[in-house]
């Protein structure tokens, strides 16, 4: 029975490697091998990143009495990385698995079900923690003083730390389940938390060498801190050095915690697997309803669709979030920017002349990160019958999808271009021209995105991540989003000397306005035809 359950669990995890999710057809052997090679490459790349981090911390390996600190720090990274990577998967596979009801209705002991679920949790934790701990061992093999026992313990620790991460994932997964069932605006809160995570991630990435330097400078207090409040990390560090007692203590703590976790979960599995069904009921009280125009109703519907999904907002609206951040930084750092520009003006006057084009290209690239209209047709999915059975001109539906893209993207784009232009000390007339162009570029991007989505729609998705993240229109939109600003940059670089900045920006305004008009006409004719035949 356990074998059958494990087979099902692994088939579920690796399904996308063997079956095309869009068509439901089996992938060719070549495609499957290609996907596994890609996965292996990604893991290798990830390992390489942590190898770099290990090399930076390796100074501790050269300091007698401080070697354990290197492993303790890598252990902290492994635990947090493993936890960050596997907590949502644990939440999904334990608490909201779609086949929980089906499997619970079968004569399967709960503990067997749990073993199959936890196998994938432990497997994923192992994947994440090993991508940190194996490179850490490689660094040790290169730089440290070799000990066979230390090496054996480090290998055992990869599994022990993974087990420890799994226990933490189960606990945090439960917290996520509780929060998800209580919150009303889940998608907004998910977006805020994700943006904070991304912000913290980039903060640490940019300041990694400073942080490591500060660890070296304050190593005494770091050691004291870890020994006091992070005794587990101290155990990991000491065990990695081949110390038997810390190894036994850490392994014992992990195994006991895992057994306890398993016992608690098996006692409460049925309750927690149906946990999300206990949402607080909102009782509606009749009130006078308000009437909206057809256009307004369509826009509101599209807006609600966008804001209802954190995946949609984060993947197709990231540019909208990033732009205001850049604008605020530009205001704060205005004097530094002006200083740098002053240097550029003196040292490379040729480059200084194209600064407005650089700003246009930079904002255009950020605009490309807003792809709201691209998956909007595919996201209709099984709901498409509603639009098709209602008395609405298809062109109005398509127009609403473009408009939503413009309404959400245009304001931050224009504000950012004005602020960047102001921070760079550009003339008012240039700032106005830049803003006009970028508004048209937003319109162009929204229309082109909708066309891509119309030409290659995918209405039969299982999860909305497919049209939002893994579709051909999204990929093409990304390529075009990089290519068009690159072309603008190139053409601008070679023609500004000849025709002047104002003429160049005016020319690209005309070109993109015409292109947008042509695309708009295509949507009204061919686009409507495609939509009617979906």
């Amino acid at each position: 029975m356990i074998k059958a359950l494990l087979k099902k669990q692994f088939a579920e995890i690796f399904k996308s490697y063997f079956v095309n999710q869009k068509t439901g057809k089996a992938r060719s052997k070549g495609a499957t091998i290609g996907l596994f090679v890609l996965f292996a490459f990604l893991m290798f790349f990830l390992g390489f990143v942590f190898f770099g981090m290990g090399m930076m911390l390796s100074e501790f390996l050269k300091m007698p009495g401080f070697e354990w600190l290197y492993f303790a720090l890598m252990g902290i990274v492994a635990i947090f990385f493993g936890l960050f990577g596997s907590v949502f998967n644990t939440y999904a596979s334990l608490y909201i698995a779609k086949d929980n009801d089906l499997l619970l209705s079968m004569p399967i002991p709960v503990k067997y079900l749990l073993i199959s679920r936890l196998t994938s949790v432990v497997g994923l934790s192992l994947l994440y923690t090993s991508s940190v701990l194996i490179p850490a061992t490689v660094v040790y093999l290169i730089i440290g003083r070799l000990s066979v026992l230390a090496l054996i313990f480090q290998i055992i620790l990869v599994f022990a730390v993974s087990l420890f991460v799994s226990v933490l994932s189960c606990l945090l997964g439960f917290v996520v389940a509780v929060i998800s069932s209580k919150l009303k605006n889940k998608s907004f809160i998910t977006v805020i938390i994700s943006v904070v995570f991304i912000g913290v991630y980039y903060f640490f990435c940019f300041r990694m060498s400073d942080i490591i330097k500060s660890i070296f400078l304050n190593s005494d207090s770091v050691v004291k801190g870890i020994k006091v409040w992070g005794n587990l990390f101290y155990l990991i560090g000491m065990a990695s050095m081949g110390k038997v007692v810390p190894m036994i203590v850490f392994t014992a703590i992990t195994i006991i915690a895992f057994i306890l976790c398993f016992i608690v979960l098996s006692k409460t599995f049925i309750g927690i697997s149906t946990f999300n069904k206990g949402e607080k009921k909102t009782v509606y009280k009749a009130t006078t309803e308000k009437q909206s125009t057809l256009e307004s109703a369509l826009i509101k519907k599209e807006f609600k669709r966008f804001t209802s999904s954190a995946t949609y907002m984060l993947n197709c609206g990231l540019g909208v979030i990033i732009m205001p951040v850049i604008a605020v930084i530009a205001i704060i750092k205005r004097s530094t920017i002006l200083e740098i520009l002053g240097q550029i003006k003196t040292e490379t006057p040729g480059f200084y002349k194209i600064i407005p084009i650089v700003i246009i290209v930079a904002v255009s690239l950020m605009t490309s990160m807003s792809s709201i209209s691209v998956p909007s047709i595919s996201l209709e999915g099984k709901n498409l019958w509603i639009y098709k059975s209602l008395p609405i001109e298809p062109s109005k539906i398509l127009n609403a999808k473009i408009k939503l893209h413009i309404y959400i993207t245009a304001v931050p784009v224009i504000l950012t271009s004005i602020i960047l232009g102001f921070s760079a000390g550009l003339d008012f007339s240039i700032i106005i021209l830049m803003s006009v162009f970028l508004y048209i570029y937003v319109y162009f991007g929204g229309t082109l995105g909708l066309i891509l989505g119309l030409v290659k729609p995918n209405l039969n998705w299982v999860t909305e991540t497919t049209p939002i993240k893994q579709s051909m229109p999204i990929f093409l939109n990304m390529i075009i989003g990089f290519a068009v600003p690159a072309v603008i940059m190139l053409v601008g670089y070679f023609t500004i000397e000849l025709i002047g900045l104002e003429v160049f920006i005016s020319a690209i305004i005309v070109v993109f306005a015409l292109a947008t008009r042509l695309l708009g006409n295509w949507v009204k004719t061919k686009g409507v035809e495609i939509f009617e035949n979906l």
């Binding site: 509606y284 009749a286 309803e289 308000k290 009437q291 709901n383 509603i386 008395p391």
Partner: protein, 234 residues
């Protein structure tokens, strides 16, 4: 009210609907029966403009769905067999969305939502997300949204599936009310007892072809509708 003339719909090399002719007059409840895959849903989807058909014509009140789909859709309402509604909306938001599309005034929609939500016992749940609704509740919401603009013709695909007995009874009453106000109902069903009791006329479709249609008496004679249907299926 509804004229389906020589309707043909082809999927690949298979004729899902083959030269189908059905006329429905005002005041009629018209049942549409046939085995799974006979072509019922394809016909209904063609009538409401969801599917484009290959041959024939469909008129609602004399207006062709091919020539003026928006005008036709304003006169009709559709309830699909599986009510996949917008999960990201609450029930009341969905009803307001549909009412906005049909241009239903604030006063009319307030009254109609209150009336139909009360009939189906859905009032308290209208503020909840549709994603939290059961199949039956979604079906009730789809029915309310279909009645919200007082359509002349209602097209329903298996409307009783998932409804509790009280809701099913209420729906039958509402269907009769539409017809007594000069409207018409065209619906598919597998529940032959319901069709027998409720319908003025019935059409039986098999492999895309209409094999029998007319008043209930004309179709079944002295036999039960079930007996006639099973004979035809043999």
């Amino acid at each position: 009210m509804l004229k389906i003339e020589h309707l043909t719909k082809i999927y690949g090399d298979k004729k899902a609907v083959d030269d189908l002719n059905i006329h429905i007059n005002p005041g009629e409840i018209y049942g549409f029966i046939g085995h799974n895959g006979a072509g019922k849903t394809t016909t209904l989807k063609s009538v409401v403009g969801i599917l484009k058909f290959d041959e024939g014509e469909i008129y609602v009140d004399g207006v062709s769905i091919k020539n003026d789909p928006v005008a036709v859709k304003k006169k009709i309402a559709y309830i699909p067999d599986n009510p996949d509604l917008y999960d990201f909306m609450t029930g009341i938001k969905y009803l307001n969305f549909v009412a906005d599309i049909y241009g239903v005034s604030a006063e009319d929609r307030t009254n109609l939502i209150e009336k139909y939500a009360d009939i189906f016992g859905l009032t308290a749940d209208l503020g909840a997300s549709i994603s939290s609704y059961s199949h039956g509740m979604k079906q009730k919401l789809a029915i309310i949204s279909a009645f919200i603009h007082s359509p002349k013709l209602i097209i329903m695909d298996e409307p009783f599936v998932g409804l509790d007995p009280k809701a099913a009874h209420s729906l039958k009453e509402m269907m009769r009310q539409v017809c007594s106000n000069g409207g018409a109902i065209f619906f598919s069903t597998h529940v032959l007892e319901v069709a027998e009791k409720l319908c003025d006329k019935v059409a039986i479709i098999k492999q895309g072809k209409l094999i029998k249609s007319g008043t209930m008496e004309e179709v079944k004679g002295d036999e039960s509708l079930e007996a006639v249907f099973l004979e035809m299926e043999e």
